[in-house]
């Protein structure tokens, strides 16, 4: 190899610049690895639910947290199953799978407690400090 680069900058200097860029990228990677996100928590809690559902499952989403963010993140954590949100819990067909996601930072409304009390059977449940997930069958 005679000359790898015949630009005016020396080869070593060019590699130092590239090294600096790589170091900046590594710092970014490290920072991202240390960050925490609700997605990670939901992925952790859903790992207890995943073995009990089939990939083709439709799970009807019920939660005490009305924000779409939690719903979307729940769907993210349970792929390839589909998590469907009905406008009203009463619209959920009988004998379907219900996925109850509780945001532990929020209170459980009485209407939701009553609805849950009326359901037929709990399959499995799992929880992490901020969230819990319960799989049940609707009546």
């Amino acid at each position: 190899m005679r000359r790898l680069f015949y630009e005016p900058m020396k080869k070593t200097e060019l590699f130092v610049w590239i090294l600096l860029i790589v170091i900046a990228m590594c710092v970014l990677g490290l920072r991202i690895s240390c960050q925490s996100n609700a997605i990670d928590e939901l992925e952790k809690v859903s790992s207890g639910i995943q073995p009990r559902i089939t990939p083709a499952s439709y799970l009807y989403y019920v939660s005490n947290n009305a924000s779409p963010e939690l719903y979307y993140k729940t769907q993210f954590s349970l792929i390839p199953a589909r998590v469907v949100k009905k406008k009203n819990w009463m619209e959920i067909p009988a004998d379907s799978s219900i996925l109850l996601v509780i945001d532990r930072k929020m209170a459980l409304p009485d209407t939701l407690s009553d609805f849950l009390f009326a359901q037929r059977r709990v399959f499995c449940a799992d929880s992490v400090p901020n969230y819990s997930m319960t799989l049940m069958v609707s009546r």
Binding site: R3, Y6, W17, I18, L28, Q35, F76, I79, P80
Partner: protein, 440 residues
């Protein structure tokens, strides 16, 4: 990691092809274009492997062996020579240092702004689609309006690239979309700069890196990990082939222009609008060059086939397309909608894109830029987006507020890049800078 090695081998094959046939001397330009051609082809192949239910193990080993074989064959045919690899940029030592310093600043700023799993649409749309694509037997679960919030009709370029690497790693790491976003942003910067270097507008090339590194033109989107920067990159690449049409390989350039323009439609639905408009103007501007048009069409064929199969066979109907005909008529005849969209355009174009406006107005008046294709494509895209807003099934304020800045992000890089090319063509900018340097 097999798939990453396979991708690297194919990138090198494509790079060898570009170095040999594109007649671009600039290694970085060849590197960026060949990287994204490989990325797009890998995405198409991955989609075909999914719909064909090909085992991923078989898929990645086939890619690796074929890539290795191809590279070895080309090596024996002396396509590559490690004796001399000129960067081919013609920069001075100071200019190279400046460029590297700006790239370092870009990397640091990207690192500071980036978040785990990106911003809302990044995880709710692109990464969510990528996660569905990990399941070769159940990826079709994505294509239902039961989970309409994730826009299952959106094309799969970014998602498939992320899924590709996730599958190879064996888990869905948030670092992968981040690296894809970084490489996309960096490629956009380097692609525009390297093209200007290739056209010998070296100071303008450095200036464009400066403009995009030290402004929010790129940053508000690049580290969000959305697909918009990828779309901007494919649009810019299409224009790179357009701007080099008189200096590069007469056969390869139209072919690649067609490929990149059509591939933009595999990144986002807005890319389909771009492809339609770009193709119309390409036809008009090359009406006397039948061979060029033919090659452009051949280049666009594969991406169009992939998009057609996806849209016809898998994706649910787009929310705008699915609206009823009566609704269209009512919206088209509603003057208040035109006023709302017009006012929003007026306010945001004036307040949000001063640099772009300055360049466009300056280039139009000083250099008669209105004769050039990019300005017409940009204008037509703005008009197309205007029409889509009029027909939008969503609340206008919400739709404009959440998407207008993204649409501008699709237009801004290629318009600024094309304006810089125009300035380079019509002024003696390089000589002017030399004179200023010597006076100091």
């Amino acid at each position: 990691m097999i798939i990453l090695v396979a991708l690297f081998l194919w990138w090198m094959v494509a790079f060898g092809g570009f170095c040999r046939y594109s007649s671009f001397k600039n290694v970085i330009l060849n590197g960026v274009l060949s990287l994204w051609m490989t990325g797009a082809l890998a995405s198409f192949l991955f989609f075909f492997s999914l719909i064909g239910h090909v085992n991923f193990m078989v898929f990645q080993w086939s890619l690796l062996l074929l890539g290795g074989g191809c590279l070895a064959f080309l090596w024996r045919r002396h396509w590559f020579s490690l004796k001399e690899i000129p960067l081919g940029m013609g920069l001075t030592a100071l200019q190279t240092r400046l460029l590297m310093a700006m790239l370092l600043v870009f990397t640091i700023l990207f690192s500071v702004g980036a978040d785990r799993w990106g911003e809302w649409d990044a995880w709710a749309i692109w990464m969510l689609h990528a996660k569905f694509l990990l399941f070769e037997n159940h990826f079709t679960n994505l294509f239902t309006n039961d989970i309409f919030f994730t826009h299952p009709d959106y094309p799969l370029m970014l998602s498939s690239l992320i899924a590709f690497v996730w599958k190879s790693l064996g888990h869905s790491s948030p670092v992968v979309p981040l690296v894809v976003a970084y490489v996309t942003g960096l490629s956009l910067l380097l692609g525009m700069a390297a093209s200007l270097f290739e056209l010998t507008y070296r100071k303008l090339g450095l200036a464009i890196v400066f403009v995009f590194t030290f402004s929010n033109l790129l940053f508000s989107f690049s580290h969000s990990q959305y697909a918009d920067t990828l779309l901007s990159l494919f649009i810019v690449c299409s224009f790179v082939f357009y701007h080099h049409r008189n200096t590069g390989n007469a056969a390869l350039l139209p072919l690649m222009a067609g490929f990149f323009a059509a591939s933009a439609g595999w990144v986002k639905n807005e890319g389909l609008l771009f492809f339609g408009l770009f193709s119309c103007f390409y036809l008009v501007y090359n009406v006397k060059h039948f061979r060029r048009i033919l090659l452009y069409g051949v280049g666009a064929l594969l991406p169009l086939v992939v998009i057609f199969i996806f849209k016809m066979g898998y994706a649910p109907a787009n929310d705008i397309v699915a609206s009823d005909a009566d609704g269209y008529v009512a919206k088209l005849t509603d003057v208040s909608r035109y006023l709302v969209v017009g006012e929003y355009y007026y306010k945001n174009l004036l307040s949000g894109s001063q640099l772009l406006l300055l360049l466009v107005v300056g280039a139009v008046f000083a250099f008669r830029w209105y004769r050039e294709m990019p300005l017409w494509v940009g204008g037509a895209m703005l008009a197309g987006y205007f029409g889509i807003y009029i027909l939008s099934p969503y609340g206008l304020d919400w739709h404009l507020g959440t998407s207008f800045n993204r649409l501008m992000h699709h237009l801004t890089p290629f318009l600024i890049y094309s304006a810089f090319v125009c300035i380079g063509q019509h002024t003696n900018f390089e000589t002017l800078c030399v004179r200023l340097d010597s006076k100091q």
